[in-house]
C-alpha cells in the first residue's frame, strides 16, 4: 500500500467517524425548554382576599383550557409581601403555569424557523461532502496527488469547502437558536415586533407542542437551556475539514494556515469596519431611532437621507472646506520648512546637528492641549487668532518633528551621487534638491504629507479656543453644535463625522501604495 493510499484511507476513516459522531449527537436531547405558558401578576393582593380569588380563578380557567388539549399545566404561585415605611403591608401575587419539554437535534430537522434551516444545511453539507469525497476517491484511491484525474479532483474539492462552511455554521446554529427562542420571542411578547408574529408562533407551536392552536399564549413565557454538548458539532466538522484537505491536497498544514490567515484578516477587517457601520446606520436614522432601547433593527427602518441635507444646511460644507484649507495649508507649510531642514540634516555636515534634532524632538513633548494659554497668547500677539492661517501655522509647527524625521530618513536612504553629478554639471544645491532628489524621494514626501494632513485634519482643542467666528471653524469644532445642553443629535453628529472621514479616506486610498514605500526608507534608516 502506498503512502498516498494510507493517507486516503485514514482520511476516509476519519470522515466516517466524524459523520457517525454527528448523527449520534443529533439523537441526544440537547435543548430543554421551560414553557411558562401563562403569567398573571396581581398587585396589592393578599392570599385569600377577593382579588386573589379573582386572579386564581382566571389562572385556573386557563389551566383547564390547556388540560382540555391534553397538555400538562402546573400552577405555581409566588407571593412577595413587604411592609412599607408606614407599616402598611403590601403583597404581590404572581401565578404561573409551567411545563418542561426536551428536544434533540433530529426534531429540529422538521421545524421551519431559521435555526432549523441552518442545521439542515449544516448536516447536508457534511453528508454531501462525505459522499463526494468517497466518490472522488474510490477510482483513484492509490494515485499520487498529481496523477488524480480531473473529475476526481473536482469531486474531492467539495468536502473541505463544505466542511469549512459547516464549521462556521455551528456557532451560527447556536446563535440562531438564541435569536428564535429568546430574542424574537421577547420582542413579540413585549409588542415591539409584530411582523411575522403569527407565522412565528405557529412554527414554534408545531415544534414544541405539536399544535399551532393557542401557541402564542402557551409559549409567551418560554425559557430554554442548552447542553454544552451541542458544541461538539464543531470539532466533528473540523475533523471532516482536515480529512478533506488530506484527500484533496495531500497535505494540510499549508492550506490550513492560509485559511486561518484569511479568517484572521477578515476578522480584523470586520472589527475595524464595525464603528463605521455604526456611524453609517446611525447617520441615516431618525432622531427617535438613534436611542432605540429595544435594539430592534440592525439597519434603519427608513433611510433618512434628509439628515444629509440638514447638516449641509447647518454649515457642514463650510466647515469641511475650512478643514481642507487648514490641513492642506499646514501640510504645505510643513513641507516647505521641513524639506530644506531635512535635506541639510541628511546631506550637510555642521555643528549642532544633534542639538537641532533634540530641539525638534523636544517640540513634540508638549501636547497642544497643555499649551492652550500660551498658544492663544501668541496668536493674539500675532493677530492670528480666529484665522484659518493661524491654524495652518500652528498645525504645521506641531508636525515639524515628524516631517523632518521622516524626510531625513528618506533622503539618507538615497545615494547622494546623482546630486553630486548634477552639481558638477552646474546645478546649485537648490537645483540638485528640486530637480534630482525630490522626484526620486516622492514616496517619502507623500508619506510625510499624509501624516501631517491627517494630524492637522483631526486637530480639535486649539481650534476650539482660537476660532470664534463660526464660518472659520474646522469640521472637528463644527460638529460640536450637534451636542447641545438639551439634546445630543446622534444622527447629525455621525452624518457629519462620516462626511469628515470621506475626504481623508479617499486621499489615503489614492496614496496607500506610496505610503508603505515611503516608510521603508524613512523607518528603517530612522
Amino acid at each position: 500500500m502506498t503512502e498516498t493510499a494510507r493517507q486516503n484511507r485514514l482520511a476516509l476513516i476519519l470522515t466516517g467517524i466524524a459523520v457517525v459522531l454527528m448523527l449520534l449527537l443529533c439523537t441526544m436531547p440537547l435543548y430543554f425548554f421551560d414553557a411558562t405558558v401563562y403569567t398573571k401578576r396581581s398587585a396589592n393582593t393578599f392570599v385569600g382576599d377577593e382579588k386573589y380569588a379573582e386572579a386564581l380563578a382566571e389562572v385556573e380557567a386557563v389551566a383547564e383550557d390547556f388540560r382540555a388539549q391534553g397538555m400538562e399545566a402546573e400552577i405555581k404561585e409566588t407571593v412577595t409581601e413587604r411592609t412599607t415605611s408606614k407599616g402598611e403591608k403590601t403583597s404581590l401575587v404572581v401565578f404561573t403555569l409551567e411545563q418542561t419539554i426536551s428536544k434533540n437535534l433530529f426534531s429540529f430537522l422538521g421545524a421551519s424557523f431559521s435555526s432549523a434551516h441552518i442545521l439542515r444545511i449544516l448536516l447536508a453539507l457534511i453528508l454531501i461532502g462525505a459522499v463526494t469525497a468517497l466518490a472522488g476517491t474510490l477510482k483513484s484511491f492509490g494515485a499520487m496527488q498529481r496523477d488524480v484525474p480531473e473529475r476526481d479532483r473536482r469531486l474531492r474539492t467539495v468536502m473541505p469547502y463544505a466542511a469549512l462552511i459547516a464549521t462556521l455554521l455551528v456557532p451560527a446554529f447556536v446563535m440562531a437558536n438564541n435569536v428564535v427562542f429568546s430574542r424574537r420571542l421577547s420582542l413579540y411578547n413585549g409588542g415591539q415586533l409584530t411582523e411575522g408574529k403569527e407565522e412565528f408562533f405557529a412554527s414554534l407551536g408545531r415544534f414544541l407542542l405539536g399544535t399551532e392552536e393557542n401557541a402564542e399564549a402557551a409559549l409567551s413565557g418560554l425559557s430554554f437551556t442548552k447542553s454544552g454538548l451541542v458544541w461538539l458539532l464543531a470539532p466533528c466538522c473540523i475533523i471532516v475539514l482536515i480529512a478533506g484537505l488530506m484527500l484533496r491536497y495531500g497535505q494540510i498544514k499549508h492550506t490550513l494556515l492560509k485559511m486561518l490567515l484569511i479568517l484572521f484578516v477578515v476578522a480584523v477587517c470586520i472589527i475595524t469596519l464595525y464603528p463605521y457601520y455604526v456611524m453609517l446606520i446611525t447617520a441615516f436614522r431618525t432622531n427617535q431611532e438613534t436611542t432605540d432601547m429595544y435594539f430592534l433593527h440592525m439597519l434603519p427602518t427608513e433611510w433618512k437621507w434628509q439628515n444629509l441635507t440638514d447638516i449641509i444646511r447647518r454649515g457642514v460644507p463650510r466647515y469641511l472646506l475650512n478643514s481642507v484649507m487648514v490641513a492642506g495649508g499646514a501640510t504645505a507649510i510643513s513641507m516647505l520648512c521641513g524639506i530644506p531642514a531635512a535635506y541639510a540634516m541628511a546631506r550637510m555636515d555642521f555643528k549642532g546637528k544633534k542639538a537641532f534634532l533634540g530641539f525638534v524632538i523636544m517640540s513634540q513633548m508638549f501636547s497642544p492641549v497643555v499649551l492652550l494659554i500660551g498658544i492663544a497668547q501668541l496668536m493674539s500677539t500675532l493677530h492670528l487668532n480666529d484665522s484659518v492661517v493661524g491654524l495652518m501655522l500652528i498645525n504645521a509647527a506641531f508636525n515639524q518633528a515628524f516631517a523632518i524625521w521622516l524626510l531625513r530618513g528618506t533622503f539618507v536612504a538615497i545615494s547622494p551621487e546623482m546630486e553630486q553629478a548634477a552639481m558638477i554639471d552646474g546645478c546649485g544645491t537648490m537645483g540638485a534638491l528640486t530637480k534630482v532628489l525630490l522626484p526620486v524621494s516622492a514616496p517619502g514626501i507623500v508619506t510625510a504629507l499624509i501624516f501631517v494632513f491627517i494630524n492637522a485634519w483631526n486637530e480639535y482643542t486649539i481650534s476650539t479656543v482660537l476660532i470664534s467666528t463660526a464660518s472659520n471653524r474646522p469640521i472637528t469644532v463644527g460638529i460640536t453644535q450637534f451636542s447641545s445642553f438639551n439634546m445630543i443629535e446622534w444622527q447629525y453628529l455621525f452624518a457629519a463625522s462620516l462626511l469628515a472621514t470621506v475626504p481623508v479616506v479617499i486621499l489615503f486610498m489614492a496614496i496607500e501604495k506610496h505610503l508603505t514605500a515611503g516608510l521603508t526608507s524613512g523607518g528603517v534608516k530612522g
Binding site: V179, V278, L336, F366, G374, L378, L519
Partner: protein, 295 residues
C-alpha cells in the same frame, strides 16, 4: 558622511532656518509661556499674577488624585503602546503575505487612523451604551448573547474600554511602520534560512525581528509621546469619572484647569509631564544617534 560640500560654513543653518523659526515661534514660545505660568499665581478666571516660586508644584504633587492619575497614566501608556505594538506587528505579518484582496484589507486597516479621535471616541461611546448601544444591538440580534450586557459596569471596565479604543486607533500606525520594515527584507534571506532548516519561530527571531527593529523602535517612541499626550478619548468617554479614577495626566490637568479652575497646579503638572517625556526623549535620541553611526 557622504554628503555634499557647502560653500560657506553657515549655509546649512540657512537651510534649517525656516523650520527653526516655525518651531521657535509656534511651539517654543508657548512652551516658555507655560513655564513662566507654572511659577506664577493664576486666578480662577485665568488672570495671571506674580511670581510664586515652587508653590504650584507643591500643590500639584500634593493633589489627592495625583497618585491615581500617575498610575493610570502609566497603565494607559504601557497598555496602549504595548498591546498595539504587538497586535500591529501580527497584523503587519499577516498583511505581508500574498493573498487575494490584500490591497482592500490594507485600505480598510488604515481607516481608524484617518478618523479624528473625537469622532472615534464618540462612536465607541455610543457603541457601548448599555441601554441603546450598538454592540448590544448587534450581539442580541445575532444571538451571540441573550441578555443585554452592561458593558461599562465599573470604572475599571470603563478604563479598559478607553485603552481598547486607544489601541484600536494606534494599531494602523504601528502596522504600517512594521509593514514597511517587512517589505524591505530581502526574500533571499528567508530562502537561505529555509534551506538551513529554520522553522517559523527561528525565522521570526533571527531574521524578521532584527530587521524590523529600527522601524519598531521609531514607531514605539513616537507612540509613547502621542499616547501620553492623547486627550480626546478619555475626555469624550468618561471625563475621568468617577472621581478622576479614569483620568490620565493630560485629561486630569485639563479638568483641573478648566473645571476645578485650579490653573496653577495644572500648569505645574504639565511641566512635570514634559520632564517625564524628556526622559523618553533621551532614550529616543540614543536610538536615533546609534542608527546614525551605523548608517
Amino acid at each position: 558622511m557622504n554628503g555634499i560640500r557647502t560653500k560657506h560654513k553657515w549655509t546649512p543653518y540657512v537651510w534649517l532656518l525656516p523650520s527653526i523659526v516655525l518651531i521657535a515661534v509656534f511651539v517654543v514660545f508657548p512652551i516658555l509661556i507655560v513655564f513662566r505660568l507654572s511659577f506664577s499665581e493664576i486666578s480662577k478666571a485665568g488672570v495671571v499674577g506674580g511670581f510664586v516660586g515652587l508653590d504650584n508644584y507643591k500643590e500639584a504633587v500634593n493633589l489627592p488624585a495625583f497618585k491615581t492619575v500617575m498610575i493610570n497614566t502609566l497603565w494607559w501608556v504601557l497598555s496602549v503602546v504595548g498591546i498595539s505594538t504587538v497586535l500591529g506587528f501580527i497584523i503587519a505579518m499577516a498583511l505581508n503575505q500574498k493573498f487575494r484582496g490584500r490591497k482592500i484589507a490594507r485600505s480598510v486597516l488604515v481607516l481608524p487612523w484617518a478618523t479624528s479621535l473625537v469622532i472615534q471616541a464618540s462612536v465607541w461611546n455610543y457603541i457601548i451604551k448599555y441601554e441603546y448601544g450598538s454592540l448590544n444591538n448587534v450581539l442580541l440580534n445575532t444571538g451571540v448573547i441573550t441578555q443585554a450586557v452592561n458593558w461599562r459596569s465599573s470604572f475599571q471596565i470603563e478604563f479598559i474600554w478607553e485603552c481598547t479604543v486607544g489601541i484600536f486607533v494606534t494599531i494602523p500606525f504601528v502596522t504600517f511602520c512594521v509593514l514597511a520594515g517587512l517589505q524591505s527584507i530581502d526574500n533571499e534571506l528567508y530562502e537561505a534560512a529555509i534551506v538551513d532548516g529554520a522553522g517559523f519561530w527561528q525565522k521570526l527571531r533571527l531574521i524578521t525581528l532584527p530587521l524590523v527593529k529600527p522601524a519598531l523602535t521609531v514607531s514605539t517612541v513616537l507612540n509613547i509621546i502621542y499616547v501620553f499626550n492623547s486627550f480626546p478619548i478619555i475626555y469624550t468617554m468618561t471625563k475621568g469619572a468617577p472621581a478622576n479614577k479614569t483620568d490620565t495626566m493630560i485629561t486630569y490637568l485639563y479638568m483641573l484647569s478648566f473645571y476645578d479652575r485650579r490653573k496653577g497646579p495644572a500648569t505645574a503638572l504639565s511641566v512635570i509631564g514634559f520632564l517625564i517625556l524628556c526622559v523618553c526623549a533621551g532614550l529616543y535620541m540614543r536610538f536615533v544617534m546609534r542608527g546614525e553611526e551605523s548608517a
